[in-house]
Symmetry: D2
Subunit: 343 residues, 4 copies
């Protein structure tokens, strides 16, 4: 069987595993106070072009989102987010569990628009009863989005500007950041992300690590007591160096970038196979997640040899499906998929 369900179906990239094996017997202090973690932070800050920023390693995406948002917002504030945003849909209420409302904005294939953000804020403060409503205290976006789409540099700059004018931090969920930066036709760099946001994270779980998310705080006024909050959220790994070792590997010799690019290239090949056959994309994604609207017989034929996600309920004649490439996806996998599609 071919597997295109998601990008977290395997373990870690061999180079990451190799380093975990090599360091396995070493004894280092816990909770991220070791030298591997220090080195990984250094490499990440260099890659971000943000020498004064701070890096914290957490284990997974949901916990990272809820810990960051809990730390940024004041008690009376909520977080702006696309209706389709992960924190609004697929985190079992983790944000609300910390006491904060998710304030939804229209989703354009997963993205929010700067004008919607501005309007929300303007409308909010023009309402005389605004103190009876939840104040927008930050903006959450994902890059790439839950639909695989990415913001252009211009769009990101506009969002950043709106947020800075309004005095609310911009937080970028980068669970799949590598794929966003490697997006086909994309023009956003890691340095742009660091420059335009106030806090963001570099996802490891879905880009070659066993697990791990590297939070980068570029805004000096934010999250100055983040470690106790990470601990309080149960997100401080005892053997913290496991995160350091993995991110050191990912940020050595461009491994993170290389994994991301390779996955995106395979995803683009995969997309072209379906397009060539005349099938339609449901969302036009330039990253490693691809969404197609396929006739049900095609879906059924594919299901015999491949696993992938049904995106929403099966339709009467056609259904939406999601194909995802990961670091274990090979060119041979794509070749074989091509044969099936063209059979």
């Amino acid at each position: 069987m071919l597997h295109f369900d998601t990008d977290y179906m395997s373990g870690a990239h061999p180079k990451v595993m190799e380093r975990l094996m090599e360091t396995n017997f070493e004894q280092t202090p816990g909770y991220g106070t070791d030298q591997y973690t220090a080195k990984a932070k250094e490499l990440i800050l260099e890659a971000c072009g943000a020498p004064d920023a701070k890096v914290h390693f957490l284990v997974g995406g949901t916990q990272t989102n809820s810990t960051v948002i809990d730390g940024v917002l004041a008690r009376h504030e909520g977080v702006l987010c696309a209706e389709s945003g992960h924190i609004n849909v697929h985190e079992s209420g983790a944000i609300e569990a910390t006491g904060h409302k998710v304030l939804t904005l229209p989703s354009y294939d997963g993205k929010v628009s700067a004008s919607d953000v501005r309007n929300f804020i303007d409308t909010f403060y023009s309402d005389e009863t605004y103190e009876h409503m939840v104040a927008p205290g930050m903006l959450y976006i994902s890059f790439p989005t839950e639909y695989g789409t990415v913001y252009t540099l211009k769009e990101l700059e506009e969002l950043s500007e709106v947020c800075r004018k309004a005095g609310i931090p911009l937080f970028i969920d980068g669970a799949r950041l590598g794929y966003g930066l490697a997006a086909d036709g994309g023009d956003v760099t890691l340095k742009d992300i660091a420059r335009l946001s106030d806090v963001f994270y570099i996802g490891g779980t879905k880009v070659g690590a066993l697990f791990g998310e590297a939070v980068v705080v570029t805004n000096k006024n934010l999250l100055n007591h983040f470690t106790p909050l990470v601990k309080q959220h149960g997100a401080l790994l005892a053997k913290g160096r496991l995160l350091g070792v993995q991110f050191e590997a990912l940020f050595t010799d461009g491994l993170y970038e290389q994994i991301s690019k390779s996955c995106v290239q395979k995803a683009v090949r995969l997309k072209n196979i379906f397009l060539a056959k005349g099938y339609k994309v449901e969302v036009d994604s330039p990253t490693n997640q691809q969404f197609f609207r396929l006739p049900n017989p095609v879906v059924d034929a594919l299901l015999k040899e491949a696993t992938f996600e049904m995106w929403g309920p099966r339709g009467e004649t056609e259904s939406v499906v999601r194909f995802v490439t990961g670091w274990t996806t090979t060119d041979e996998d794509i070749d074989r998929l091509e044969e099936i599609v063209n059979a």
Copy 2:
């Protein structure tokens, strides 16, 4: 340098790493729905003699404590705990962050007494204003405790009986459970733990795994919607099979027990070295954590060749120190320590 700081200074036991390497390229569904996780659950339930119990895997101890306690307590309830309990001292307020008070009981070298629990409950309900106070909704104990001590079977049975009579669940924090079961002179088995508690966990992080805690819910009325709560707490690992693979390894051919016993044996040797020299234990622990009250010159001499924790502030003439053995501690380490102590 010799390292006796703690039991989470290295990676995972070689057999655990071996299995992670062997399975690294396999592709399995996420969030613990894979066959390794299923197999690990089966092995654990067998070891517990509790075929009808449920097992959930989480990543770390603090998150396990806060997720379980949050799931068990009603909104108006708090959790009974020794003053010295981990949840009361060293979790950055994780329990309170979920909205619940930690109700403290006297600590006897880390343990609580059944009579104190009973008295607390009786006194509480005999107070006319009890509805203005936080109701005791469950009992938390650690096995072994934060001081390395263990309950006897009789003590556990008494605690269990008090809880069942009062209708409050007994939760056992087993972050170091293996060492407690292997305690020198101990008489408690894993099956006893399962039989006498309502929910407990088997710590992996400190007993040979990279990370991971296996929560076993034996009381059928508890935690019936635990998975969404685990997700909400940011504790649901995407690559969930990593937990399954590790616990399968630990519960195959008695590895978990073997690691635990070996560590405890080395700790007992270590204790005897200090005792033979006439030094005093601060707490008489039968497990892998050992606490000594040493003259400061001895402490200083040791610090030149070994790392270990100062337990509280340095005293004027003597100080309390903690030595911990882990799966990487060798007999040669203990030999060398003996030489230093006797030098």
Copy 3:
């Protein structure tokens, strides 16, 4: 000036004040353990036809909503609610502050439909990833709604049936319950409310009291430890008898009903004045809140002699306004308004 801003602009109905004055010097125990509170509970249960239900008195609507919802929901659950619902819009995130998501349903002039509720629940559980989403744990509706509209008896019965089949409690926010029961053309009685919901409240603040909401819990499985939760939410009034005295007055000789009917009659007169003049209602409300879409010159003329709320931002040529009658509104006020409108 005439005042039609809202129904909480004055103190309490004279009969309520009279009783507060008469009992002012009496000394009774606190926190609602007095005989006035007991008597008021008895009168309310009789009026509800629910002798076995339980009554609790709280001070205001927002605190009642958040305390009840916090007490009903499990940690992983959220509350279903019309998008326009008070808890979703105008309570500063009070529900989220207790850790729960508000799950929104389409609003039809403030109401939700039974089929939308059913569809939400069905769709939710048919999603394979439902454990990663917030489970619908109860349904919140307001009666009358924020737009003054009311459910018919048939609609309420359908909602109740959907909820009972799904096993989720139905909670009715009755901050203005009296006006809903007195609705022009309405067919729902207090006994229906008690019979069809699991918990609801009878609003005092907006219907003749200084303050106070009477929560009636008809479902025996719910809120069995409500008093400590009320205290925890800061909603347990020290001089609890003030609530008892007021509700005793309101439920003696049909005062609550009489106030409600009188206000609704005046509101209907008021509506007819605007309709007769050819103006349009924005929402067709049968209760004491009336919404009109008026030409801006009419709005401006009215503003010279009356206060009322602009409902949303002023439009270019016409605007939506809200007129509310309260227990202090007199027939002379309506006469005078008629003169102004017809001037």
Copy 4:
């Protein structure tokens, strides 16, 4: 029967009720935006000698404590408090429900010592693992305390200095503030309270009002978005002017002071009656709460003609009781009590 149970057994002082009656039919905007509230704030700030401070009116003490503390603390912080403090004992976990730990200090007849506060903070930050513990983020004291005792001006100045040096706000629970300021032999003024604390409140419920607490925020950096937080906590009264009217009455012609002094004088008379008879005070209180250790036969004799609280469980031969005077306590009540005691 004579009643000495507590100071919230009656309604409001006649002058307060008079003003509520006089203004009852007036129509004013809601939520404290009326002119009575504005006037009351002005009078309070004048009395505090703090023209730039801000005043907010809430309904009750527990909700005031939890709203203020929730607004002041960062997520990783807890509140320092005497073990006997109201927030630690008698608020059903209201502070923990907002996510914060109550960090307890020794109680000396209800008071904390500046040196204990300093030591706590110093010890905390000298611990290498302090990020795994709950940081002290503010100090809560009550004035008078739960035992009726008061801080001297010197003690308050020391506490204030310790807090300011440590950079943590000092919050004074003044549920019975009037009685503390009127303490027999006390040397603290309202202006001292305002000058030495960062936020405090002036209790109305127990000092002549039906209900109501006036929060005064003197530290400009604190609680700048307090109104939405008050709403979120369900503590924003719809008919907010009821609080304004009452506090205006209490702060007109020194009524608040006069009620307080009168109650304290009666309490001192009451104390002297018991002392003259040779009975012992359990706590030497200079305010309106008095604690005696009485032989059980005396207790029983008193119970035939008076109500008061047993303070803790009945002892074998003697018991501790609490007598409280309130604005309804008359000189005749004290005369009669004297007769009973001396009978």
